[in-house]
């Protein structure tokens, strides 16, 4: 019989560590960089472990077609897309239903942060390309998008930082890896504007008791603080160099 019988691996090992050696509340190594594309008005690349997402922002610019422009605010256009070589098996480059949904939740999260009324009748285009997919792509995309929007000089209420919390073998874990994403009992991506303590994205896939749900939010908040600090450092380290000129 040509079938692939895959057994669920043990996700939490005897020493309490995860399959990649992390503690339950430990995130993967993170790298962030802004202003890496020449043509885009703003750009950023964010890596979390083996997940890597590049985002470019164009705008605010004139909206085409014109009838879609809004008189009192900018129109955000967001595309989350995975390159065909970002996954183990080649991904069809056309937009999947998953990508359509994720584009929507990322747009809604970004719209909470961007001061949309500043640029009436315009559009701001946000293009995120997942270069490597290894769990947590929507949040890495959202973080790179928020950095790229900031890099484009578009006024925002706050940056957006986000991380997934989940449950693997009954243990709450921060920043799921691919195995935990696939075999774990829960996956809850959550993103916040940390300075304002506002949640801008929240989804849950899997199951939690109400108590676990609350503990998971606490755990995520810790990770989000850390990510937010890195985001600010990334921006200041690039732009502090220009400070002396004025």
């Amino acid at each position: 019989m040509l079938t692939l019988q895959v057994q669920k691996p043990k996700l939490i090992l005897e020493d309490g560590r995860r399959t990649d050696g992390r503690r339950p509340d430990e995130m993967r190594p993170i790298k962030m960089e802004v202003g890496i594309l020449k043509n885009a008005n703003g750009s950023a690349i964010v890596e979390m472990g083996k997940t890597k997402v590049l985002t470019a922002v164009y705008g605010p610019r004139e909206m085409h077609p014109r009838h879609l422009a809004l008189p009192d605010r900018t129109v955000m256009r967001v595309r989350y897309h995975m390159t065909p070589f970002s996954t183990d098996d080649r991904k069809n480059p056309s937009l999947s239903r998953r990508e359509i949904e994720i584009s929507k939740v990322i747009r809604e999260a970004l719209e909470a942060a961007v001061l949309a009324e500043t640029f009436p009748r315009t559009t701001i285009d946000v293009f995120s390309e997942v270069l490597q997919a290894d769990a947590g792509t929507r949040l890495v995309a959202l973080m790179s998008a928020s950095l790229a929007v900031a890099d484009a000089g578009i006024p925002m209420r706050d940056l957006i930082a986000g991380v997934a919390v989940g449950k693997a073998d009954g243990t709450l874990v921060l920043d799921l890896n691919e195995e935990e994403d696939m075999w774990g009992e829960a996956d809850m991506p959550i993103a916040m504007m940390p300075s304002l303590s506002q949640v801008t994205l929240l989804q849950l896939n899997g199951n939690f008791t109400p108590e676990e749900f609350r503990a998971a939010i606490q755990l995520a908040s810790k990770g989000i603080e850390e990510l937010y600090k890195l985001q600010k450092e990334t921006l200041t380290s690039k732009y502090s160099a220009y400070k002396e000129v004025n």
């Binding site: 955000m76 256009r77 929507k104 199951n207």
Partner: protein
Amino acid sequence: MSLTPSNYNIVPLIKREGILSVLEKGSRIDGRKFTDFRSLSITQGYAKKAEGSAMVRLGDTAVLAGVKMKEDVPFPDTPDQGNFIVNVELLPLAYETFEPGPPDENAVELSRVVDRGLRDSKAIDLKRLCLVPGKKVWTIWIDIDVLDYGGNVLDASMLAAVAALYDAFLPKVEINGEEVKIIKEEKGERVPMNYPVVSVTVAKLDKFFLVDPELEEETIADTRLSISYLEDGRIVGIQKFGSGTLTTQELDAVESIARASTSRLFEELKKVITRPEGGVTQ
């Protein structure tokens, strides 16, 4: 690509102020309490050509779900399980700004949230949809048509999906070793359901939290949180809709409000799905 919507249902500011001033007095424009669902009716067997169906009316919202199935080959990583596919259609007859065409992002999002609620709760016993391991399984299509768009389509869709699944029979099969004979004209077993699942949507409007928002409340709401539950209170799915935000304290409050509202939905569902010849397993 996902765009800021431009074809919004526009609610005049004066109407918004009206809604808010009623909320300040502790009531809602239709007289409900903040935690009340609207009137709910669930009718199974509404579409006779479907193997299972249910019409759900939740206030002014009308949703019809139909279940069809076909024999299929299993996915390689789940050789002993059947499949199911959820598809929500926001039909052009349901609302003035809806247009014909492939599902837009709202319909795709609704489909996927209903799908996750059913999948992660393990409400359907997929193992019992296997006919011959590795060779033949059932694929169940759950198609949900939104007929009248009156707010909170998600909760209505989840109710319709669950009620239609409980209404559904598989065709009769005769299995002889690896040979499967399907007798389409005859009813076989019921679609194997483990337990029902419900979704509760709470809208955040100014400082108020409103269960089961009707269309105007939904339109002017800052954000909506939809949580899927099992009867024991276990959370089996969450989705935040819209570009507003919530604090973590508000998430806490919303979850408690939503969980408290599930009992009415389970009660109404059980009126139709608990039947002597099968239905709900207690």
